[in-house]
């Protein structure tokens, strides 16, 4: 067992070898590059679903605007004040920094968890694209409460798309990444175009004088659709905040910010948040209201923008599932050390395609996004605590590295314990991560402080 794990961890280290050393000063990037990167990264296929779900969950227009504005502001501040400063001081990826703190064994488990979560996310993107292709063949989108595949046609389309996305990820990840850069501004424009074109259908006049009245009565009218939970201001604020929780509070974006010249580059995430996670969500809300509140991204986009709309849904799914499949493959490569990249991507793509057949992952996307962030959040809290709090309390840092621990059991216990505590907390899923962060930070400080005192190493 120990030798097997050692083999896996050494394979994992080889895989991430290229970014083992802190980024050198000559590799640092300008602020403009960060603005461009974030602007292109946050307009995905899932935006077609998220904004539409806010309408189905009966959010009022005022709650939506205020919740999105403040929630996205909190997300930007989390990148700027939590993620970027640690990345700049260490110039390392989360993988290597976590390895110093938690040991290679915990990092290995973290990678596997990440791979699975990435597969589910890529699966949701394939499902969204399947709604666009399904429209061409007259295949109905599963009902809102569907969990299992609803028809052979749906499964066939998902398999064809999954196979196509996987094949293209295998054949040319780099080329597709460059193509995605071209797609992202256009996809954003299609969101705006679709919403604008749907306004007359909702009764908005050419002078926009009655826009607010239509918005509050026909779009975000505060009435939840049948079987959907009613959301309010706090749900929206927290959703916008935690939508990229794994990236900011969870510190995954250390991989990006280690190239920043200043920690203030964290504020450039606003270029991604406000167009992608505010304007695009508002646009998809308008589109779903105009098609009678049917959760069918393909139909929504087709009605709003014709063939270009169908193309936007398909391309948004494809270009965002591709890097997600790549990241899942990279994380999975740790368990299959001798496999070539194509075989790993095929495995990740196969798993993702099977998951995509289950409509529950895209129909419960809001809950899934919450769970995704929640599962990875304790690791971010642990790294934050070790980086900032331990020096203040004079607790020894990086003990896993110094003592050659494979597992820092305190990290594992705090991670699992925090998730158990969050599960038991009698509050809505969307709000659980915030007290969870403090539970993780507090309990990790306590455990490591006690461990240090026990060993006399304080």
């Amino acid at each position: 067992m120990a030798s097997g794990l050692a083999k896996f961890t050494s394979a994992m280290d080889r895989l991430y070898e290229f970014d083992r050393e802190p980024v050198s000063l000559d590799k640092l990037q300008s602020g403009g590059k960060f603005a461009g990167l974030f602007a292109g990264e946050h307009v995905a296929a899932t935006e077609f679903v998220i904004g539409a779900f806010f309408v189905l969950h009966g959010v009022s227009a005022r709650e939506l605007l205020l919740g999105l504005f403040l929630g996205n502001l909190l997300a930007v501040l989390s990148w700027a004040f939590i993620c970027a400063p640690i990345a700049l001081r260490t110039r390392l990826t989360l993988y290597w920094y976590l390895r110093k703190i938690a040991g290679p064994g915990v990092t290995f488990i973290y990678n596997i968890a990440n791979a699975f979560l990435y597969c589910v996310l890529a699966g949701a993107m394939i499902s969204v694209s399947a709604t666009a292709v399904g429209l061409l063949f007259g295949i109905k989108v599963p009902a809102l409460d569907a969990v299992l595949p609803t028809s052979a046609g749906w499964v066939a389309i998902v398999f064809v798309l999954g196979a196509a996305f996987t094949a293209m990820a295998i054949l040319g990840f780099e080329k597709l990444s460059r193509f995605a850069e071209i797609c992202s501004p256009w996809i954003f424009i299609v969101f705006v175009a679709g919403a604008l074109a749907m306004l007359p259908k909702l009764g908005v006049g050419r002078d926009l004088a009655n826009f607010w009245q239509v918005a509050t009565t026909k779009i975000w009218n505060g009435v939840a659709a049948g079987g959907q939970e009613k959301f309010g201001f706090w749900h929206i604020l927290f959703f916008a905040w935690f939508c990229n929780l794994a990236m900011h509070v969870g510190l995954s974006d250390m991989a990006i910010f280690r190239y920043a010249r200043k920690w203030t580059y964290g504020f450039y995430t606003a270029f991604g948040m406000y167009p992608g996670h505010m304007l695009a969500w508002i646009c998809s809300g308008i589109m779903v209201a105009a098609v009678g509140r049917q959760m069918d991204p393909g139909l929504m986009a087709f009605e709003a923008a014709g063939a270009a709309g169908i193309g936007a849904v398909l391309l948004a799914g494809w270009t965002t599932a591709n890097p997600t499949l790549y990241r899942a493959g990279l994380a999975l490569q740790t368990v299959t050390p001798n496999w070539p990249r194509w075989k790993i991507t095929l495995l990740a793509g196969g798993a993702t395609t099977v998951l995509a057949c289950f409509p529950v992952f895209f129909l419960k996307l809001l809950d899934y996004v919450a769970i995704y962030g929640l599962v990875l959040m304790p690791i971010g809290a642990i790294v934050f605590t070790e980086h900032w709090i331990f020096p203040l309390l004079k607790i020894e840092r990086y003990r896993a590295e110094a003592r050659g621990w494979t597992f820092n059991w305190a990290v594992l216990a705090v991670w699992l314990g925090t998730l158990a505590a969050c599960f038991l907390l009698p509050i809505h899923l969307f709000f659980k991560w915030l007290p969870g962060w403090f539970i993780a930070a507090g309990s990790y400080t306590l455990l490591m402080g006690l461990e240090g005192r026990r060993r006399g190493t304080k």
Binding site: R178, F179, E181, I182, P185, W186, I189, V190, V192, A193, G194, L196, A197, L199, P200, R206, A305, G306, A307, A308, G311
Partner: protein, 60 residues
């Protein structure tokens, strides 16, 4: 050439936005708006891809 490609690709993106605006203002009928959006989109993909490839070919 690169500047020409950049300007024309940005123009095609602007056209993607102008088409729904003209439909909203009642100047274009729905079918024409959707066709204009599709053509402008194809223009964007063709021109922006050429713009991006041109930059890469010229860079050392």
């Amino acid at each position: 050439m690169k500047i020409l490609l950049a300007v024309s690709s940005l123009l095609s993106l602007l056209l993607c936005l102008a088409a729904p605006l003209l439909f909203f203002l009642g100047i274009l009928p729905e079918a024409s708006y959707k066709l204009a959006l599709l053509l402008a989109s194809l223009g964007w993909f063709f021109l922006a891809t050429s713009w991006a490839s041109y930059g890469r070919k010229k860079s050392p």
